[in-house]
């Protein structure tokens, strides 16, 4: 057994005491950690999407020149030299892959998920996108065509999902919370 650091024992003792005293449950902490791991990375992209849903001019700018439209945000993480944003519509669903490696808009979506780098995803999403997306839990409506965008070192794609039908019922601050990383890759509705 490797020697544990004093800090890790302190942290463990603290958590045990807090649980015993009823201040929190271990599951609450698990949930918070999961939320931050999942949300914080892709939050930059989600903010961009949410704004495009409510700001027509920004949406137009974003679709015309993604890099220029997001540059005022000064997102850290680089790798968005040439960002192309593709919008889902009632007729078209977009999905992104990098068949050569795993090019990905890091600054907007954080670290790529493991499956994005998987050879199976990279090859199958091109051949049978509808089936792969369905296996990932989202059924693209039968009448929609699916467009697959292949990223490269020069161009990174971001999917702009369709807004929810009841968009106006949401507070502006709630909108980024509706957008997931998978939605911006195109393997989820939004």
């Amino acid at each position: 057994m490797s020697e544990r650091s004093p800090q890790s024992i302190r942290a463990e003792a603290l958590e045990a005491l807090l649980i015993e005293k009823g201040f929190l449950k271990a599951e609450d902490v698990d949930d918070v950690i999961a939320r931050y791991s999942e949300r914080v990375g892709p939050l930059n992209g989600a903010q961009v999407v949410a704004r495009a849903w409510t700001d027509k001019r920004f949406r137009d700018d974003l679709l015309r020149d993604g890099s220029a439209a997001v540059s005022p945000y000064q997102f850290e993480g680089g790798q968005v030299e040439k960002l192309v944003v593709v919008a889902n519509t009632p007729a078209i669903h977009n999905v992104v892959v990098c068949t050569l490696c795993s090019c990905y808009p890091w600054a907007l979506l954080g670290l790529p998920p493991k499956w994005y780098k998987d050879p199976e995803y990279r090859s199958r999403i091109v051949r049978e996108p509808r089936k792969v997306i369905s296996e990932m839990g989202f059924e693209v409506a039968a009448g929609k065509s699916i467009k697959v965008w292949d990223s490269s070192a020069e161009i990174r794609y971001l999917v702009l999902p369709e807004p929810p039908e009841n968009l106006l019922q949401y507070d502006e601050n709630e909108l980024p919370g509706l957008v997931s990383r998978d939605g911006m890759i195109g393997v989820a509705e939004r």
Binding site: M1, A11, E12, L14, L18, F23, L24, V29, Y36, E174
Partner: protein
């Protein structure tokens, strides 16, 4: 989302490509503890941040500084807030620590 974590703040935890970076699992755990307690209303994020500023300030002012470790200060700040709020006192933590340190080797989670 309400009460977003102030990730653009100079006191924000280490990040790479927009994701939080943890060098060790206990750091993620402590981050989760602080955020959970804050979200449950045990203390405000400003309370915590003030303690974090003080903890980092103490480190900066020390003559024999340990190597920089954001989460060491984060944990110190959390313990201070919990002590101020009388949720945890030093004696009980010390006694629990002693118990864990002395438990037989081979114990692990």
């Amino acid at each position: 989302m309400t009460d977003q974590y102030p990730l653009n703040h100079e006191l924000a935890p280490p990040q790479a490509n927009g994701e939080l970076v943890f060098d060790d699992p206990w750091q993620m755990r402590v981050f989760g503890l602080a955020r959970t307690l804050c979200e449950q209303g045990c203390f405000s994020w400003d309370d915590f941040r003030s303690e974090l500023i003080l903890a980092i300030g103490r480190w900066q002012g020390a003559l024999d500084r340990s190597p920089w470790s954001y989460f060491d200060h984060f944990l110190d700040a959390l313990l201070q807030v919990l002590s101020d709020k009388q949720m945890i006192n030093e004696e009980e933590l010390a006694s629990r620590l002693a118990e864990y340190i002395n438990r037989s080797h081979g114990h692990d989670h």
